[in-house]
Symmetry: C2
Subunit: 360 residues, 2 copies
């Protein structure tokens, strides 16, 4: 088992990563408050892992309630928050209770937000079951739901008491989603850790074969890299923006193609290739490094090109993304593998060339 | 003008108290972030004070949007949160915006909660217009809304950047609501500050005549007392429970008589009398001090007795209140004026005697 501590002063918490953890009560008991425990999960994850978690938490001899919501993004709504809180209130859960969020990113975002606002905050334990949730939502404390007028527009920064990553849950993850999660993994190497990027190049075969040791290391190092960035900027005032490398393009690709065409990680993969290309066009990044980035993403089996649409379509969505952020359009670019630069100074001509170059 | 600083480390903030502050741009400008400003108020307060605040904030030369919700407790709902956030999103408000909550307790609770969760948190400035909101909601960071299954069950601890108390807004407050607010004021003397209690006894006439200096001092000292308690227990783990003095009885009176029969402060007034009586029955409080408490509450023009209902009705609601708190039934009692004791050890016979003694 690998472990790391996310350092956030009084809100520091551990991440434990390894096989079989879902069956190990010692992983969970230290993080439960004295009262009842609520397990939140969705209707896809419940048949796979709910029984195991129920059995493990039974060792606490604390009352247990189970809340199963529909899978998918539509559960990230205030209506669902009210429904989940209603089930917790009906069961009499007070401020001495604990919420365990078992599932992917939607369950982590929804569960963390419910924990943040239920009776003004109860502790929660995150048990991510997708690679993306393991390497992304595990660190950073971002929780929340969607508003009809915008994704993730309602939420809170709220830290879990612990994150328990049982890598065996990846066995049930579709390969396409596994590869999509690897896009964010590659991102951590690109923005913060050139050694990790090289290690990914060297061990891609074992990773794609889902070798346990390789996957554990992938998750551990990704979380450590993200924790490093977040610890320096918990409330996202500046530095943390580098975590959005590839995301300005990626969000525009997701929006312009209609959400659901690409998985988030797939759109980010194309976005990272575009951001590298733009960095090279602005003489920030060497061509040889741009090629390494392209090759690793391609070898991972991730898409490298966006569908051919009018460039203005993509640009429009990039501007909406910028407007939602309440500021100017800023790009996270690369000066080298492992070294970011944030700039608002991007000539539109270069942007158009990049978009054109990576449409198929 | 009187001012005090609520000491909460990086989240410390000032409270400014005086006449005419609503017209003084210098009170507001230092606390606005660089982007647009949203004013949240209700349909009773808007015709009275919205124009003044609009004119004052215009000095910032920042875009201004106004959101007016229906007055009353029914606006404390997640549906209203979604509606308010929708108006802010439609106006393009980003994380550089500021929310100003102009109104009584409902607007403060709703506005603070919206600020806490809009794009994971934007700054807010509180401009309370009722005595209760000035002396209670100004300090403590409690924000939130109701759930159909329970009041204040959804919320967050979130501190304002500043609280601006223009005591002229009390001119439009009905006298009954002003006296109701004084119940919480008397509470601060009782739980924490015997000197303030004596001062209230000595200056009651000026206070009831709404003399500006007396009212400013009432608000200042109440906020200072509450801030003192909150600073020692920001997240309500223990000590802060003394702020609920009179509230276990008070909530039961509100619930048993149907919400709306008594104003909150009126129910708390009766509850404080009952808690003093119970303290005396348990040989904690001297009879002479119990009488001082009764006399001050009576002289303030607050009710001293609850309607005659079966004692079991009140007891049932007290037990529900306890269940919602997820713990045992605990009473905040007095060992003397200015000195609290929290206990779970109350014989039911004494409780029944107290309830019987203060039903009319």
């Amino acid at each position: 088992m690998l472990s790391l501590q996310v350092q956030l002063g009084a809100r520091s918490y551990p991440i434990h990563i390894g096989p079989g953890l879902l069956h190990d009560a010692q992983q969970f008991l230290p993080y439960l408050r004295s009262g009842p425990v609520a397990i939140l999960t969705d209707d896809l994850v419940a048949p796979l892992y709910l029984a195991a978690l129920r059995e493990t938490l039974a060792h606490s001899h604390q009352p247990l309630i189970e809340i199963v919501v529909p899978h998918g993004e539509q559960s990230k709504s205030l209506a669902q928050v009210e429904e989940v809180c209603g089930q917790m209130l009906a069961a009499g859960l007070g401020r001495d209770s604990t919420l365990c969020a078992l599932g992917g990113g939607v369950i982590g975002d929804l569960g963390g937000f419910v924990a943040a606002i239920y009776q003004r905050g109860i502790p929660f334990v995150q048990i991510p079951t997708t690679l993306l949730a393991m390497v992304d939502s595990s660190v950073g404390g971002k929780t929340g739901v969607n508003h009809p007028l915008g994704k993730n527009m309602i939420g809170a920064f709220y830290q879990p008491r612990a994150v328990i990553v049982d890598i065996d849950t990846l066995d049930s993850l579709p390969e396409r989603e596994f590869r999509s999660g690897l896009a964010e993994v590659i991102k951590y190497g690109l923005i913060n850790n050139p050694g990790f990027f090289s290690w990914l190049e060297d061990h891609l075969e074992a990773i794609l074969a889902e070798d346990g040791d390789a996957v554990s290391r992938v998750i551990h190092d990704s979380c450590a890299d993200k924790a490093d960035v977040v610890a320096r900027d918990e409330l996202e005032s500046g530095l943390r923006a580098i975590l959005n490398y590839g995301h300005t393009f990626g969000h525009a690709i997701e929006a312009a193609t209609g959400y659901g065409t690409f998985l988030h990680g797939e759109a980010v993969a194309i976005g990272m290739i575009m951001a590298a290309d733009l960095s090279r066009r602005l003489d920030l990044l060497r061509e040889s490094e741009q090629e390494r980035i392209f090759r690793l993403i391609q070898a991972t089996g991730l898409p490298t090109h966006a569908p051919r649409l009018p460039v203005d379509d993509y640009l429009r969505y990039m501007r909406i993304d910028k407007k939602a952020a309440g500021g100017q359009m800023r790009f996270v670019l690369l000066r080298g593998i492992g070294e970011c630069v944030i700039t608002g100074e991007v000539p539109e001509a270069a942007l158009r060339q990049t978009l054109n170059a990576f449409m198929e």
